[in-house]
Symmetry: C2
Subunit: 373 residues, 2 copies
């Protein structure tokens, strides 16, 4: 049976790649940004709205769904696709990041990790084999291997964790339940340490997985440390597979990472800041709670074609945010996801045109100038 | 200049009336239910969604909008219609109910009422003249006269308050700012006391206003006291004007009130209970938080044609409600407003067919039996 997963490179400029990754639930145009639907819903939005925005891929969190409503239950609804009524590609993480970031009481050993539920305090255990079973039940198109996520600046911990992450990746690959329906991605770890990152990229590349992620970034290191790490890692990863930078969604980080060869992103940033009134604009991030928007009769952003900007004024959305109305959170979420989808569209277009790096400099000049602040 | 406000009776069966009330922003099919958009938004929904549900009229609250974002500001956005981007009919209440129900520190005299803001504790004063100015700035199609809202069971207070409510209605009528663009409705008060209600209906009828409301019900009296009060009041109100029962939205109360000649309703009930997971069904009210819905692969209600029931399972919405996801509140709100709009549609149809009272008994049998509980 031929694999339904294939990365097709359509154009390349420098390290920046424009490609398509095919999955059983459709193609993902890359570089792609995946909105995060932690609990089987991209917060505030319907799947119909995500389709209108143009999202090709959404991410959901294994840790949360395993705890509630449970993987068997989701399987009984036809997996995540049926449960949340989204028929496009889905990616599930392994739960590793949540176990290591949300849980003070986790206990890790070479076999797996024991942790306490943030909901009811009950104890649970993830092993690579168990996570493969859970992710099979959730039924995403792309599933992530279980990894350990250490502080990126702590060398000793990174050395110790890397050995486990690699061993767990092997066990995930050997115990994958539905390899012809789900693409297993490995996760390169190693913190900010060049030799560890290179060791990790080399080890995982040998597993010949359908895709690779760079994990453990955007969690405490500086932006320049993140970019430097990508400079080291990216040349060491296979070029015929999608390369995914996990947990990154700031517009400036996206263009910098694409310039280094990244094909996929996910992040809670656009949806999380939206619910607090903050929006992306071409001229930087602004917060609609600011009193200067109270009498603003224009759209959130001049020239924006999103649903929110086409129908409502900044003054009205300011009012909704100030009064904590749910519609305000919906409208800012729509704007931010539209902004990132438009950015990914522009990135793809400029790679094909061959002027991506010019576009990148112009975009960063505008975005980082914060002219409207 | 001919008035843009006209109540046209299309059919009548017993006291139940099917009619159309015309306003500058379109016709309202009656009997009508108006969703409540307290802060210039029907909580969780866009105006586009309200149009799809089929709402002809929405209500917004003068008290809240006067305090935030302010009537002058809303006027600068083209009134409520422009501010919230709803081009259909709007009704604003007078703020009287909020002043008398939310404010412990109100002080009423014959001239007006002084109250403390629930937002910042600042003091404000409403007089009939001031409320007419505020409602003119908000720009609704139907505006309510300032009234005093006493405990419906307290006779002495009702006697005292009724004199003020009547004097204020006269001052509202004499000081209306835009009588050719806004229909001023008077509010019959008098608690559960027959003689006071009849006195109020007679007094206000003489003012020859374009519509009349029955106020001060559904705030502490029993359902049978409410129905008995309508039995007394309705025959005393003009038949060529719309008659509006304020603050009532329970499905059983709606059919009982229509049977007594009511043409309009508003209530926060369908939207408020929705955000807590409770939904209307033909077989009574149920709460989706109940664990029995966790594995329910069917829609919220069999046969329902709402957006939610067409696309999502009860099990999924149960999960969203349990995890406090905003999408869950949106989906239950859509279902409840669709349910009431469908009920109003059925009511109108059966009045025209001449079998409304049969429909009413059948509906109440099903709704009050709570067969699914």
């Amino acid at each position: 049976m031929p694999s339904p997963f294939k990365y097709q490179r359509l154009a390349q400029e420098g390290q920046a790649r424009r490609g398509i990754f095919s999955t059983p639930h459709g193609n993902i145009n890359m570089p792609a940004f995946a909105p995060v639907g932690t609990q089987a819903t991209v917060k505030t939005l319907t799947p119909d709205e995500l389709r209108l925005i143009g999202s090709d891929l959404i991410l959901s969190n294994t840790y949360h769904l395993y705890l509630r409503p449970g993987a068997d239950r989701i399987a009984s609804f036809g997996g995540l696709h049926g449960f949340m009524n989204w028929d496009g590609p889905i990616l599930t993480d392994s739960g590793g990041f949540q176990v290591f970031s949300l849980n003070d009481l986790r206990k890790v050993d070479d076999e797996g990790v024991t942790f306490k539920s943030h909901i009811d305090g009950s104890y649970h255990r993830f092993t690579p084999e168990k996570v493969m079973q859970i992710e099979a039940k959730l039924g995403a198109d792309i599933i992530m291997a279980l990894d350990e996520c250490p502080d990126p600046l702590n060398r000793a911990y990174n050395e110790e964790a890397l050995a486990r992450t690699h061993a767990w990746a092997v066990r995930c690959a050997e115990n994958q339940v539905r390899p012809h329906e789900q693409a297993l991605f490995g996760i390169v770890q190693g913190g900010i340490f060049e030799d560890l990152r290179l060791e990790s990229a080399a080890f995982l590349s040998k597993l010949d997985l359908p895709g690779y992620a760079v994990g453990g970034l955007a969690v405490g290191e500086t932006k320049s440390q993140m970019y430097a790490t990508l400079d080291v890692v990216m040349p060491a990863l296979p070029t015929d597979r999608p390369r995914y930078l996990m947990g990154v969604g700031a517009p400036d980080d996206i263009v910098e990472a694409v310039a280094r060869g990244i094909d996929m992103f996910d992040c809670v940033l656009p949806t999380r800041i939206a619910r607090n009134g903050a929006i992306f604009t071409r001229h930087g991030r602004i917060n609609l709670r600011n009193a200067r928007f109270a009498d603003d009769h224009g759209p959130l952003e001049q020239g924006c074609t999103c649903y929110t900007c086409q129908r409502f004024t900044a003054g009205y959305v300011h009012h909704l945010i100030k009064t904590k109305e749910i519609l305000g959170m919906r409208l800012t979420t729509l704007h931010n996801l539209h902004f990132l989808e438009q950015l990914m569209h522009d990135i793809r277009e400029h790679i094909v045109l061959g002027d991506f790096y010019t576009f990148k400099e112009r975009f960063l000049d505008d975005y980082l100038a914060r002219k409207t602040l």
